[in-house]
Amino acid sequence: MTTEREPKSKASRDGTGIKSKEALVIGGGVAGMTAALDIANQGFKVTLVEKAPSIGGVMAAIDKTFPTLDCSACILTPKLSEVAHHPNIDLLTYSEIKSITGETGDFRVKVHKKARYIDEDNCNGCNDCVPVCPVELPNEFDENLGFRKAIYAPFPQATPHIMTVEKKGEPACRATCPAEVNAQGFITMMRHGKYDEGLEIFRRSNPFAGVLGRVCVSFCEGECERGMLDESLSIRNLHRFLADYERMNEVAPVVAKIDKKDRVAVIGAGPGGISCAYQLAHLGYPVTIFEEREEPGGMLRYAIPEYRLPREVLDEEIQRVLDMGVKLVTKTKITSIKSLQEKGFKAVFVATGTWQSNKLGLKGEDSEGVIHAIDFLESTCRGKEITIGKRVAVIGGGDAAIDSARVAIRLGAKDVTMIYRRSHVEIPAIPSEVQDAMKEGVKLMLLTSPMELIVNKGKLSGVRCIKMRLGEPDTSGRRRPVPITNSEFTMAVDNLIIAVGQSADQKGVQTDVECSKWGNAVADPITLATKTPGVFAGGDIVLGPNTVVKAVGHGNQAAISIDRFLRGVDMMEGRAKHRHRVQSYEVDKEGVPLDARAAMPKQGVDSRVRDFDEVELGFNEAMAEEEAERCLGCAVCCECERCVTACQRDAIDHNMKDEVIDLHVGALVLATGYKLFDISEYTQFGYGKIPNVISAMEFERLINAAGPTQGHLLRLSDGRKPKSIGFINCVGARDVQKGVPYCSRVCCMFSIKNSVMCKQHDADIDVTVYYADIRAFGKGFEEFYENAHTRFGVNFVRGRVGGVSQVKDNGTLRIQVENTETVKLMEIEHDLIVINPGIIPPDGLDDLAVELSMDLSEEGYVDVRDTILTPVDTPIDGVFVCGCADGPKDIPDSVSAGSAAAMRATIVLSKGDE
């Protein structure tokens, strides 16, 4: 092998100079398979790459072939089998070409193998997983006439004979949720009325279906793809329904299975701590939670008022965690992490939260009548007696401020004003809470800030405020409020509740590890490990005041880290990567009727302000199901994992990833096939609008015994058998105005074949073919045409159809056509119209051509080097073409071309040693 040889072909890019004796065939239709087999049978190794989950191409969908009326599957399936079992063929399905570099004899190809989440060695295509899959979608193989599941094999003889899970990635809801709640999963279950399974899916991520179902900020709803159509799903209220439903029906038993030895301590029984304990107990670890206060729950119990979160719900969900074997030690304040480690705890999770109310920094802040939000709320939640005057002002705009305001109303204040220094747009509180507060009579005073507390004899009597306007944005990105000069005013108030944020206890136990200057523990953002080995921290104590769900998310992540730490496994591995989030354009919203979001029923305003009974009443079953129906199923597979349970061969792995495979080949064969012209572009035929106007491929699936109607030829609008069928030819072919001036070569015979099939199904059906020409050029074609006419009684009318319209009263179809042989202009009625679309280049061929630096023909096909002398050579050395990739062809011609391309390829491969 010399290194000084000049490359012979054009566009030599990054060739390595090392020759390969292997081949690559791109496209697994009949042409590609033929090429692959002929190469392999000569002793060369060949890789066959196919985009779809199975090889077979369009021929697998066809019922019978022309002119012999052979069953297409019968002649194709032996080839499928041969390809699958050939020792020299490496079959890569569900794969696409990423890049091609190099030159003849020395191509470097990267293949993108999409994850199908199925272990190809274990799966045997038994289909046990299909009935249990809850996700249904239109079946492309059946031309969207029937349905398939998210886990599927496209047709019974699919090769390789394994299933495929269609999963587009992570749906927006799950990708946004800090606790990674599988919203699409539980909502899909709800659509089928399987509430217990939905709840079980929710509980894989955290134990708080009911708690978060009432208090969560619902980041998911802000990103829900349905919101791009009409309104986002009411996700939070849906999982609340699941929790409520369980409470009223059968409660799933809790299984305790603590079988590990390493003990873990959690400091703080708030949402973060409890979630961490929950996940660890699930893994079998003995966990003890230490809680300073008398009862667990943290701010869920001691800050969030009962009208938002009834205590029974909180108690029950915490109890379920304890029932798993988690120990809870209350009224115990931990002051030293080291002491816990000395007691034998192998890992510690600090989740103590931030309970110190921030001060305004105004003189008189410690006067009587001034109270800070957390203290106020905690007192209320403990049931302590609190005297509240008639006029109350709350400073702040977050959830603590809203909660304080609404509690003040319930405690009897007559005049509650919330003073917030920015505008409505910037209010951090949950919007529905703000709405409810306003309904209950809380006044919102925006763009106002307190500047002075007026104290009379040690007691607060009023507050002086100043109006603000929004200036330039500050470091948080929000516009900074700027005081407006001379806009001061005084408000008389009896009480002032200050809700301007919280901070960590500067002397708390978190100071045992490295902290920031504000007293927050420093922890790795992904593993949540502190600098002290074996000590982890999460929730508000790390982030500062944040949401419940974020704390829960941290609890989950800390549990993963602790488990790995205890097993001595790397904590970081595989955790920083992000799954592909399903993009908006990947979710098909066409034809989805608009539907409003379910409104949460609430207690009447007058009754609810009198006490702390729950305000939001929850969906009933009908509302929940209707709302669940609105889910678009963005990722397709919802990861409910029912398939995993049903599979008896351990063949499903939802964590599989896409792969990139590097190939080094000497020759390429392009066999990328074709797609069909979109006949809805011919508005005059009404395809897509008028019922019972169908395309030839839809017809093909209807008459196929393995198709959606089991081979019964029916009208899809009413299930009736058609008594009169018309075939319209030359649509999307030989049309200068639509950009397809060339003849599509196969449609004349295809329509004759289909017309004969109609007669074979029922000799009494009246069948007419409307044509401009009959191109019956091949072997046996003319005889077949003749037979169609004389033996089977198909009518042939020479005249292109002008248009199709619907006859109102009886649902038949009327066509206008001139019979050019009799010069009669006719209006004819049929029950069913079948339109034969022309062939056009397939999607992705132009991208592939760019990779090869190859120009396509004007019509978008591969341009062969010389149509007469080298009909399967492309202009690129070492790259050959067969099948419809270079122009329309029928099956025999495609097979011939496949063999020819194989030969041309192996000539290159044989020279590999030179």
């Binding site: 011919y682 508005t683 319209s805 619907q806």
Partner: protein
Amino acid sequence: MKEFVLYTGCTTPVRLPAYEASVKIVLAKFGITLVDMKDANCCGAQYVESVSHTAFAAMTGRLLAIAEKMDMDILAICGACSGSMKTMKHELDNNKKLLKEVNEVLAEEGLKYTGKVEVKHLLQIFQEDIGYAAIREAIVRPYRGIRLSAHYGCHVTRPEEIVQVDDAENPKIIDKIIEIAGGTAVDYVGKTRCCGGPMLGIDAELAGKIGRDKIENIRNENVEGIITACAFCDLQLTQVQIGDDASDQDKIPVMTLPQFLGPALGVNFSSLGIELNRINPQAILQG
């Protein structure tokens, strides 16, 4: 403030003055002023066109040159005129020999066509210059779901590549405006077929048959009215219902688009010349 020079064509001022008036009033509501073209001539559509292409080119070319001198684009409200001017503009823009010949004649009057002026049909004004959003906002008295069918007219929409007004096989503009104004747009068989108008001068009987075919197809859909965008079509569809060979069935009111839109915008009926409509349009106006 947009300005167009209005070319009414021969027919509208005499046979359908209500159309002319309602166009002016309705467009004024959207800030579009129209200046009447003075000293114009027939565009030569159909008849002169058939007899001499060059004569036709000169006559239509003159209209384009007049507009160019006025430094305004042309608004055509009759389909035949719109079709003539658009296709002739396209031809003059691409055929230097014909352009030279035409400009030679025009030069004698001090006129010249250089290609600057654009020709628009009324439907384009609604879709492009006004926009559906503005129409929606200007509706003050919406209709209450009345069922109406739109008839676009052949010369308004075809040949599509040249006139570029709407999708020739599946036109939408009038239907959209019907919906925005509160009506229900109803499709019917043969929506894009000709009304028969161009046949009137040659074989009135055939013209009548063609027009009646259209009316019967519309009648099958049980609508309350037909909305048009061409003076010729409007007259033809009215005439076939009241002429000698008309059927005995109830007459379906025929109304031009601005006459239909006007009341929804708050324009009173008399300024729209509604009384001049020969088939009583009460049914539409009450819907």
